[in-house]
Subunit: 419 residues, 2 copies
């Protein structure tokens, strides 16, 4: 990593601030030299658009900067690439469908649902093919889950690289899915005794596949057709995707067209040459499915600097774990020397994003912001140093290390590592 | 009401069906004369769009029918009108932002957030004016709430009128809000002892206002700036709206620009000539704020007929109450003679939509579908007959009566009343 981004914690020893409840916000007393109070605006004066103008709504034009973004040099082509969620602009735990990150291996399949089928074959009593209408006749479930790409934060194995949580952590989103339990469909086909693994396959041109053990398939997986109430978006697998709660995103096969049942894993491309973890001794860990406990501060962050100067400052971020709920999030403003317990606000749902806040009174000095999540199973988010000590420096996937943001006195924020 | 829509329950006495768990769905055995299985589709063969194509995503073109719709004859102009949520197409409890119903009194205000201010004045120690940036410095909360217009189902006071739950019940939606508790802002200004009511005011050309008692203002109201994670949509009050959980929608002032504190209600237009309930004796009930316990079956329904014939059928709908959570939903398939307890699936959050299902094996005979919700406070959704016996037939608002859908043998569905 570059010298530019490695900071000595001791350099910032003066950053010890009294974190406390929010005090007075900057405010203007009514009538006091604020033209916006007294000027009549067009929207106070004239009728706006009527209801026929927008059958399907969209954001205000003043929010045009809140979009998914890619990093062109990161991938060879836009069809096998990623568009990151603008986490720094969002709040709460629900990601709006239009901003859910997208990762494709052969571009976005545009499927006519009337022509789409889901086949179950292999070690089953009765091979089956379902139309979308067939699937709508099985009992459904609704669950809120995060989806994280195994490569999220992957660039950061080599040190602080990308300047913004959209790029360092934006391969995660969280929506409410509606679908049929995978267990229900497998039972409909009838598993043969030797059926120990399933292979979901996508209908896009990459025919994406992953091996999933039957225990997970019979546990909490869903064959989903809706997200946040409406049909899946094309880039999220319309009309059908597999939901594999808490496990790495590329197993959540999009455009799902087939489920094969077998007696052993298939060792496909995306679980051998990719999505495995190269260790210092040259061996690779495979089948590292669970997305471990992780968190990131989304504001302040490089794309969301502090523009208001000293005084009350809302520090907020996201925490999640493939093991279940988040039991606690700690936040440090001095690079990990001292920690305060953050306030988790909103629903705490298993394998879903959790939103946390620490409301402080900023004295205007430099900060080294970090968050550290602890999940319900007791796992504690590790430092990047601890991760590298075990996994070396050749990894790409499963980087759940503690992220550091350097907030400067002018409010600008930079991605750094502390040592 | 017309004779066409009034059905005698006894006519359909043969509709007594054994409601039970789902059995086999219609299905095709692999390879059995289904061209869609063997034909190679374009989306299997060619690369799709890359990630740069859609910075902000949108639904599949095959979902172009899933939109908000208005009823032209219902209102005088599109600027003072309503666009209904397509409840029959949705599932789960989250409404995607693009499909949340909209109701305006002077069209959609298109506000530049940099020019927007929120003023607190009246019986306060310090009158205050906040910029949007100021508001972002107070501690925030995230809550999922339904929002229902008081006039939802209002046409049905006169009998079955509109053929589709989008039109009969589509003035309700449910999202996760992020905002600052109203209590926090009022405390920042400092309430004077006489401050017993607040008057929120909108910045649109209608300058919408409603009187709200201070007890509610200090309880669970939010000054919200986000819905489902992103900024409020323009038609939902961007950049700021008041959230008044469980209370009628027109109190949730959009484009919120002012909060006045007073010692008594203001008796504004929208709480005297409108949004009051005319009773049989000629008197009108005022300040009927709470949206009472209510439910509706969203599928099957007139816009979502049964197309698959007899066999497994998913009956699903929504239930909600301004009093808190829903403790039970019963479903009848014979016009209210017999009831089965439905399965509530997904999070059960106070003052939020609840999703229910009854999975039956349909024998193909006619059904009279009804749902009846019971809330955590013990209130039971009434029949329309019981409502009319108390409130007469001149009401517009607060119709939470039990809805009946007539499912015919061919699967078509009609809005009816039973007697």
């Amino acid at each position: 990593m570059t010298e530019r981004t490695r900071l000595d914690r001791r350099r910032l020893l003066t950053a010890g601030l009294a974190a406390g409840g929010a005090a007075l916000a900057t405010r203007v007393v009514a009538g006091e030299s604020d033209a916006a109070i007294t000027e009549i605006q067009d929207w106070n004066r004239y009728l706006g658009d009527g209801v026929q103008a927008r059958p399907y709504g969209k954001p205000s034009e003043f929010e045009a900067h809140v979009v998914r973004r890619d990093v062109e040099w990161l991938t060879a082509s836009p069809e096998s690439s990623v568009n990151f969620t603008p986490l720094h602009e969002l709040d709460g735990i629900i990601t709006p469908n239009g901003l859910c990150f997208e990762r494709h291996h052969a571009g976005i399949a545009e499927i006519d649902p009337a022509q789409h089928r889901l086949m179950i074959n292999g070690l089953v009593e009765t091979p089956l093919v379902f139309t979308m209408a067939d699937l709508m006749r099985f009992p459904r479930e609704n669950r809120v889950y995060f989806l994280e790409c195994a490569a999220n934060t992957g660039m950061e194995w080599r040190g602080a690289q990308l300047n913004g949580c959209q790029y360092t952590h934006g391969m995660v989103h969280c929506v409410m899915y509606t679908g049929v339990p995978l267990k229900t469909l497998l039972q409909e086909a009838g598993l043969k005794p030797g059926g120990k693994w399933i292979l979901p396959e996508g209908a896009d041109a990459s025919a994406m596949t992953r091996s999933i053990p039957i225990e997970k398939a019979l546990d909490d997986c869903l064959v989903a057709f809706k997200m946040n109430g409406e049909a899946l978006r094309p880039e999220q697998g319309y009309p059908l995707r597999l939901v594999v709660p808490g496990w790495e995103g590329n197993m959540w096969i999009k455009w799902l067209r087939r489920l094969e049942v077998g007696d052993e894993p298939w060792h496909q491309r995306e679980e051998t040459s990719k999505y495995t973890d190269l260790l210092p001794d040259g061996k690779a860990r495979r089948f590292t499915w669970v997305m471990d406990v992780k968190s990131v501060i989304t504001s302040p962050s490089p794309q969301a600097p502090v523009r208001h100067g000293r005084g009350p400052l809302v520090i907020t971020g996201l925490a999640w774990s493939g093991n279940g709920t988040i039991s606690r999030v700690d936040v440090s403003i001095d690079g990990g020397r001292n920690w305060k317990t953050a306030r988790i606000d909103g629903p705490s749902l298993p394998k879903a994003l959790h939103r946390f806040y620490l409301d402080i009174d900023w004295d205007g000095s430099e900060l080294l912001l970090q968050s550290r999540a602890i999940d319900g199973a007791g796992f504690v988010q590790p430092t990047k140093e601890a991760l590298r000590a075990v996994r070396g420096e050749n990894s790409i996937y499963h980087n759940n290390g503690i992220q550091t943001w350097h907030v400067k006195a002018d409010g600008m924020v930079e991605n750094v590592e502390v040592s």
